[in-house]
């Protein structure tokens, strides 16, 4: 039996951890912990990118790792921390409806993701092709997180986690997108968070809360 090289084993371990973090986010009720989990997810992504860069010797992967480190591990979590402190929701928790059920759906999502990614993995020539399924699972679980939350900040964290999953998918399927696209995507994510920061203050000013229950008046009358 031939064992995988060490760096590939590490990469697989990192992708497994990434999925674990996604589940942790799905069930995390405290907002500040949710943001910390997002930072951890970013850090895992950073390590995975560095490992992959070392393995393939591709210069653009180092660049993209640096981008991940500055944006997803340092800047965005810092910004979100600052935001929730300014908005005074630092210690807030939210009630999750039926966490057990959500987790079970999450498990099904993972099975579905591997099925979905199977044709892609079969064709991929990258060393990390087995992780494509995990990337899809991270995206879909982030989506699940997003739709089960009622607080604006948690939804944004879900959105960012989704972007992490997509990034991981691009990395494991093709060793990353062309650099110009990655910069563009990073810029969009950054602007999105800044815009949302402004937006939170507007919501807060109007409703004295960041619960999205207040935002349910625009519906079609039956």
């Amino acid at each position: 039996m031939n064992a995988l090289p060490l760096d590939l084993q590490l990469l697989n371990a990192l992708s497994a951890l990434l999925l674990l973090i996604s589940f942790a986010m799905l069930s995390q009720r405290r907002i500040v912990s949710l943001i910390n989990l997002l930072a951890v997810q970013g850090a895992l992504l950073f390590f995975a990118t560095v490992l992959l860069a070392a393995r393939t010797g591709a210069g653009h992967l180092y660049l993209s790792a640096a981008l991940t480190l500055t944006l997803k591990v340092i800047f965005l979590p810092w910004l979100l921390h600052r935001l929730i402190r300014r908005l005074d929701v630092y210690w807030d928790t939210e009630s999750l409806l039926n966490p057990t059920g959500t987790m079970l759906v999450g498990v099904l999502v993972v099975v579905f993701s591997f099925g979905l990614a199977q044709p892609v993995s079969a064709l991929a020539s990258t060393a990390t092709r087995s992780a494509i399924g995990i990337a899809v699972a991270v995206v879909l679980i982030a989506f699940l997180t997003l739709i089960t939350r009622r607080k604006a900040i948690s939804q944004v964290v879900g959105f960012l986690s989704m972007e992490n999953g997509l990034f991981f998918g691009a990395m494991s399927a093709t060793y990353g997108m062309p650099m110009i696209v990655e910069f563009g995507v990073a810029l969009d994510v950054l602007v999105a968070v800044l815009v949302l920061g402004v937006f939170f203050f507007q919501i807060r000013e109007q409703f004295d809360s960041l619960d999205l229950e207040h935002l349910e008046s625009l519906k079609e009358e039956p």
């Binding site: 959105f159 602007v191 937006f199």
Partner: protein, 489 residues
């Protein structure tokens, strides 16, 4: 003048406009400056178009930009409607400012974001890189989120949030689709990714792209960009965002952004169809298109807000266009392109008229806008004629394109014709029965301190009328070239 200069002027003008207006946008003369930047963009677009007509397709800036018959006509249309909307926005926003609904700081944001929004749309249209197209589409959402929430009312905040989350999540699907596309292309075009996301390169090798991956990619791309087109069942953000933002923004969202998203879908469809050698992408487009048409037609009956009414009408028309592109072939593509043009012109003209009408009545509710014809005959007639045009009455251009689409459907997809006809009939009754009392009837509305800008309304309607009676030969050639490019069938 070389193409690169025109392209630079075209893209740099709105970007510079965003910067300048970000500083000076709150001044009294800022709306005029906004018009000036838009006019310059429009002139650059015309120059570029003239060049493409004379010399054919061009690839610029290390192949990152690509302009052909298909996108250049959308560039001109976008720049033109951008310019006329800026004209309309001048008196409109002055009235809003005079009523204290927006502060000078908010006006600064508004003007700056307006130009930025134009820039993102023009980049999305002209770029050759499918990844950059995604980036520009997402940026288009981001630049308009704060415009939808400009009035800071509870409803507008809700609309903005919905717009951001739905379009953000939707467009994330498109990013995944783009990754898959890159994945399939990279095998053929090299790992360094030089050409692997460039549409022109992809188009050359589309027959060899892996069909299994491409069909998966198309599902994600269609869902992603389809959300921005406003296709049912992913249309929820659209009526809210259109109704709660300032009316000039409703006009550009409806008249331009939906077209740009549609353009992205069609570009993807060309690649996927070439790879699959089957009609699957076309059938998916037809399905989503028909669903949107039918759903929107019935939702039209429930609307009490005039801007929501016409937002649903946009969903209906985007459905018709999607259906026509789905059928494919020279005639259907031609009709779809014509419909994109006339819908864009007519719908923005309607929003201009609606904006003035709602300002006069002090409300967007249909039951509170009455008797426009006695108070301001021009606004009244503008709204009436715009509504008749959008409902497909001859001799307006919408009639010509809908007629072409319906007759092609009868030949190629006879099963769909009764559904389309039914939906068009329902939509006709719904819109006409609401607009009629708004225009004729008793009134209690007031006069406005700034005279409404009616030239854009009638200029658009005149163009739509002209397109219904006579399509200039060069324009027809241009549509034909674009239709041939899109292919299908």
């Amino acid at each position: 003048m070389p193409g690169i200069v025109m392209l630079t002027v075209l893209l740099a003008t709105p970007l510079a406009g965003a910067l300048v207006l970000g500083v000076l946008g709150g001044r009294r003369w800022a709306p005029g400056l906004n018009v000036g930047f838009s006019l310059l963009t429009f002139v650059a677009a015309c120059a570029l178009t003239a060049r493409i007509i004379a010399h054919g397709d061009v690839v610029l800036v290390g192949e990152q930009f690509f302009i052909d018959a298909f996108n250049v006509f959308l560039v001109t249309l976008t720049a033109f409607v951008g310019f006329t909307t800026a004209l309309f926005s001048r008196p409109y926003m002055r009235v809003e400012a005079g009523r204290g609904r927006v502060s000078p700081a908010q006006l600064r944001l508004y003007h700056s974001m307006y130009q930025l929004f134009m820039a993102t749309m023009l980049i999305a249209l002209t770029t050759n890189n499918m990844g950059l197209m995604w980036v520009a589409m997402e940026a288009a959402t981001l630049s308009t989120v704060l415009l939808v929430t400009l009035y800071r009312t509870p409803a507008s905040l809700e609309a903005g949030w919905k717009y951001f989350i739905l379009c953000g999540v939707g467009i994330a699907q498109a990013l995944f689709g783009t990754i898959l596309l890159y994945f399939a292309a990279e095998k053929l075009l090299g790992a360094e990714g030089v050409g692997a996301l460039l549409w022109t390169h992809l188009n050359l090798v589309k027959g060899q792209l892996e069909p299994a991956v491409l069909s998966l990619a198309f599902v994600f791309l269609l869902v992603g960009y389809g959300t921005k087109v406003g296709l049912a069942p992913l249309h929820n953000w659209l009526p809210d965002a259109h109704a709660e933002g300032p009316t000039p923004i409703s006009a550009v969202l409806s008249g331009l952004l939906l077209n740009v998203a549609m353009y992205a879908v069609v570009r993807c469809k060309v690649l996927v169809e070439g790879s699959l050698q089957s009609s699957l992408p076309g059938r998916m487009l037809m399905g989503f298109g028909l669903l949107s048409v039918v759903l929107a037609a019935f939702f039209l009956w429930r609307q009490r807000d005039i801007k929501r009414l016409f937002a649903y009408s946009s969903i209906e028309h985007m459905g018709i266009i999607t259906f026509a592109f789905g059928m494919g072939g020279a005639v259907a593509n031609f009709a779809a392109l014509l419909h994109m043009t006339v819908h864009s012109l007519t719908k923005s003209a309607i929003f201009f008229a609606v904006g003035h009408a709602a300002q006069k009545a002090g409300s967007q509710l249909i039951e509170q806008i009455r008797g426009l014809i006695t108070l301001s005959p021009t606004v009244g007639w503008g709204l009436m004629m715009g509504s008749l045009a959008i409902l497909g009455m001859p001799p307006f251009g919408v009639f010509a394109s809908e007629f072409l689409i319906l007759t092609t459907a009868m030949k190629q997809q006879p099963w769909a014709t009764p559904i389309l006809l039914l939906a068009l009939g329902v939509a006709f009754a719904a819109i006409f029965s609401r607009v009629q009392p708004m225009v004729f009837g008793e009134t209690a509305a007031r006069r406005l301190p700034h005279p409404p800008a009616l030239i854009p309304v009638f200029a658009h309607l005149a163009l739509v009328l002209m397109l219904g009676i006579f399509i200039p030969p060069y324009l027809a050639d241009w549509y034909r070239a674009a239709a041939a490019l899109i292919g299908g069938q």
